[in-house]
Symmetry: C2
């Protein structure tokens, strides 16, 4: 076969392997893998720098399939270009229980999948995060003569990704930052689930991305013009001052003679007749899951190329180590994901003599205290830096031309901020991303928080202004249901610290949780430093912060800004001869992970009289109190007013806690 | 004074009244009201068609302050142009507990405030919804000679709104739909909370909106060029085929001589010195909260103009009624927000003999059954119409040139979809908006759902694919925490119906809830029609669907797709001599609203042995079961696999329910 013939046979192999797997699964999305096969082949075979025998090679180009429903495309590419996984057997298990080839790509399941995608637009923002991480590491570690970080981030998006608002947020920021090594291929096929894009998507995408300061290139025939695709990719690589969108016009489901170009091929198997017709039209004589040897050989040229590239990089890194041993040490430590020994010694500690401070201010102090010890710390706020208090004073802003800096200015773009942070976490270079907004706007970034938890991304979500104590901004800005709503997400630690020591403890947990995200809920208002608060106890989720003599008559459980009310109430009740234990419970998830013995030691089952105090919804507290009526909480939206007035009106006073505690005791 | 002088005095009155109120409150955002005063004055005084003496006049122009933090601007405008509320005393109570002038504008608190704003970008999408409602009503009711619906929707946005992704979603759709009567003023002041827009927002906004098919006009000096502002507004009004963005360059906090143009004036009171300096610079001799009589007279010219306009409209409507009495009847009924008598008779009913159906299919049948009886029904899906099953067969698509149709194609834009639906609900013309996506993507539109609840917008949120039974699409598409997360939101009814009758009952509640949104959780998979299910019982939130002889030994509580498991398990357990009651609990919120007697009749306190069965997180169920361990639920993310396999692996089988029930009974 000629090179051209073997190229097209390879592309047809991607198409048919994908369609075969979907047919066998009786479920899946053939439209994208078939229509996008040419661009994917050119990228993976001719352009992308990767080593199939080591999916973790640090200097590999990254590839993100933002249109995650086309997952069979990436599984076909991984298999055909020579990755050890997925095997052909894995592919035959597409979309089955516990297979290596789930319905949407999951980084925790399939090596070579960089990030988990599926929710549209997330992948594009993840790719922006990966590209930011590359620029940041390059600016910090590259030397004039030795570029040890030097790769591209490629992303494939569809119409759906680009309709999502997160795509505009992420693209606007990528253009602002001039991420020249970010290259996005837009599979422009004019078809969505509902039908033609004429139904709802008639904007000028080229002009929109140019408005975002992107280079936009176009490939008019993405079905057959392989050289055109390659030329565009190479032009994109050569453009170093801005990201590139390559608009590649394709036919969805190309190769399925009767269904291509229709929405019917988007999300359903072709059916055996159409699959047979596709084979016939391609002149393909082999059966399902059969790949010609010459195609496999052609597809697997990246194996040798990748091994050579990695070896050259290893040699460069060795040379680098000789010239810059200290830098190499830090670089290698980061790549291993190791935290510096003793970093936690930099955490601030407090005594009751220290002044009352808002936990957002304590967070600020903590970030600034630990930053010098943590070379991976990298983050910022969605245009609320003066409110969230997230600026690290020893660094400048991460900007075009100043990528070495670690203060990230996300703009008012919470949704992209979350997904970009996920990309930074999953870049795999020991970066510890944190990102911040008001707690109420966690709602704007809820899917990225979920995706962080699902994909084991150790992002630190810093949420300030964590209750109705926000005050005058009113109910649109007062979180009520938000702490509980975050507790609902699996694999996410939600920590609401009560004072300075607990803030330090919260950061200790968050920094050490590299495979699990953390959400911090921090106050706008000042909080006293408590007598028995503890950095280390935060890791246990809950602990006795004020105990009584003998067996408690009841237990008061508080979190965050309400713990001091519990402590004060316990002391007052003691004067009436009532033995009350006060428990600080900064993190439910960590408490649940403790031994039964520890849990019993904090919350003895025999002490059934309990009252929880939290400036949020009582929903869920029955887990610890037995009933939601034993909660000083908030069952409605908040109200506008000065913060102290609002707290008082909703009953967050020592007096009311005492009164409700007595009611629980029947007194 | 000359007209020009009195114009500028009026503008200074807006600035100072706003700054005075913020100063008194010691909290608020003077930057926008001061910088945006000229454009606001020109709009409200010269251009906008409104009647201060009747904020509810149906044909008024709508105004949305998307940058809701500038709330004092709208309060100043309402007061100064002659609205009865807020009074000067109300304004002196700015941001205080239970005042009429909360920190962000709330439509439920202040007449003349069309929608609740604050979370950035929501207002712009609300405005798109208002403009859609206007086009829809106009297309349905206007006659060639009589345009009884004929007004504009104005919106004021800042940099923050435009950075948010929702602004791109909403603007792209508005451009697609050619909403020529939507006019957005962009207060382009180059300053955000973090500082200069150079930090994170350097895109070409003009080009971006042109890419969205908008007309973009520019006013270079928005501080003083009133005629330029007016000319742009009039040009925008004259352009009928596309929406207009007027980019008005201003100085934030204009009039505060030392602070204007800085981020310091964005969100903090000016301080008494700077406020005095502003008065001096303006040559303003009156004290705080004092408005010159001639300024008031000038500002209140809309009162006479508005009264005349409304009277003319009333005359037109009367003439219309004579020519088109039936249309007028429907129109007036809609404006009153009245549902047609007997509409609920169109709800489908089912018996156990009817075939098993997915609740999304039952929803489809219901929508199509009730649509002919409900002239206000108006909605659609975010590009998942074939999956959400939301198309009404008797109508076409709401599109440019076909605004009379009621099937809305939102595109893959969940966030904007929610906020647009809120705008349609709050338009005040009896429209009943519904909007649909997969339940897992409720996360993309969580803030609009919250805002619907906060602003009493009776939107119906249709969420299909409501559990891990989604199957092969895997954990990115399988909701686990989502039903619980929606239950957390105050003033939102979350209904998870078990079969056909309960779907009808769910729609009955949803349609009748015009001041409270409803979220429906519907299955992808088929469900059997149950023997004792009931349309009317849904309104009670929970009811006995399968009872036992005598006092129950235990109660099984199920929702949605798990109710039939409870019924079957109860029957099986009866064979072992165990008396089990099965309760269907489609809606927690409605059950909580019932009398204690009713609640006791369904869930007798004496029967403490209980087991809840729901294919989602157990979080919160302790409210009804006493402990979360008495729940057949899911404590992790889902997994990819065929839906029936996934359900079985997670324990959603009759056998497992029986086994867990026995465990609860200690058997």
């Amino acid at each position: 076969m000629s090179t051209k013939e073997i190229d097209f046979s390879s592309i047809n192999a991607i198409r048919l392997l994908s369609a075969d797997a979907i047919e066998k699964a009786k479920s899946g999305h053939p439209g994208l893998p078939m229509g996008g096969a040419p661009m994917a082949f050119v990228l993976w075979n001719r352009v992308m720098n990767h080593n199939p025998h080591n999916p973790q090679w640090p200097n590999r180009d990254r590839f993100v399939l933002s249109a995650g429903h086309g997952s069979m495309l990436i599984y076909s590419l991984l298999h055909l270009t020579g990755y050890a996984s997925p095997t052909l057997d894995d592919i035959k298990q597409f979309r089955q229980w516990e297979s290596k080839t789930p319905g949407h790509p999951e980084n925790t399941v399939t090596p070579g999948v960089e990030v988990t995608t599926g929710p549209l637009g997330q992948g594009l923002a993840n790719a922006v995060g990966l590209a930011c991480a590359e620029r940041h590491m390059a600016a910090r570690f590259n030397k004039n003569d030795m570029e040890i970080v030097n790769h591209y981030t490629f992303c494939l998006v569809g119409d759906g990704c680009l309709m999502e608002g997160i795509s505009s947020e992420a693209a606007s920021l990528a253009g602002h930052l001039g991420l020249g090594k970010l290259i996005v291929m837009y599979d422009d096929n004019k078809v969505t689930i509902d039908g033609s894009t004429k139904l709802a998507f008639t904007e000028d995408v080229t002009k929109r991305f140019e408005a975002f300061n992107w280079q936009v290139l176009e490939v008019k025939d993405g079905n057959t013009d392989l050289d055109g695709i390659e030329a565009a990719l190479r032009e994109a690589k050569a453009t170093t001052d801005k990201p590139t969108l390559i608009r590649i016009h394709t036919t969805i489901g190309f190769g399925a003679p009767n269904k291509q170009g229709t929405s019917g091929v988007h999300g359903s198997p072709l059916g055996s007749d159409e699959l047979a017709a596709a084979r016939k039209a391609m002149g393909w004589e082999l059966g399902p899951f059969e790949i010609p040897e010459d195609v496999l050989a052609h597809m697997r040229t990246p194996v040798a190329k990748g091994a050579k590239a990695e070896a050259e990089w290893e040699a460069l890194l060795e040379k680098y180590g000789k010239a810059y041993p200290e830098d190499q040490n830090v670089f290698k430590q980061l790549l291993k994901g190791e935290l510096p020994v003793d970093w936690a010694k930099s955490l601030p500690t407090y005594t009751p003599a220290d002044k009352a401070m808002a936990s957002r201010s304590l967070s600020h102090a903590t970030l600034n205290a630990i930053a010098p010890s943590l070379p991976g710390l990298f983050g910022g706020s969605a245009d609320l830096a003066p409110s969230n208090l997230t600026l690290v004073k020893t660094s400048g802003d991460f900007q075009k031309g100043a990528y070495e800096n670690s203060n990230f200015r996300f703009g008012v773009r919470e949704h992209a901020m979350g997904a970009i942070s996920n990309g930074i976490a999953l870049y795999g270079a020991g970066l510890i991303p944190y990102c911040a907004t008001f707690l109420v706007f966690a709602d704007y970034m809820r899917n990225p928080i979920r995706m962080a938890a699902l994909s084991n991304a150790g992002v630190i979500f810093v949420f300030t202004h964590d209750s109705v104590a926000v005050g005058e901004d009113g109910p649109t800005h007062q979180p009520v249901e938000h702490v509980a709503s975050l507790r609902l997400i699996p694999n996410l630690n939600v920590i609401r610290p009560a004072d300075g020591n607990e803030v330090s403890g919260a950061y200790k947990v968050a920094v050490e949780s590299r495979n699990c995200p953390t959400a911090l809920a921090l106050t706008r208002q000042n909080l006293p430093q408590l007598e028995n608060s503890s950095i280390d106890a935060v890791a246990k989720g809950a602990y006795v912060i004020q105990d009584c003599e003998g067996t408690p008559d009841m237990i008061l459980i508080g979190t965050g800004s309400e713990v001091h009310l519990c402590v004060d109430a316990a002391k007052e009740l003691a004067k009436d001869g009532i033995a009350v234990r006060a428990v600080s419970m900064p993190c439910w998830e960590l408490f649940e992970a403790q031994s039964d013995a520890y849990k019993e030691s904090v919350l003895p089952a025999a002490v059934t009289k309990r009252l929880a105090v939290e400036a949020g919804t009582p929903f869920g507290w029955a887990r610890y109190t037995g009933t939601e009526s034993a909660v000083v909480g908030i069952n409605s939206f908040g109200h506008c007013g000065p913060g102290d007035v609002v707290l008082k009106e909703f009953g967050f006073t020592t007096e009311n806690v005492i009164s409700k505690a007595k009611a629980v005791l029947g007194k």
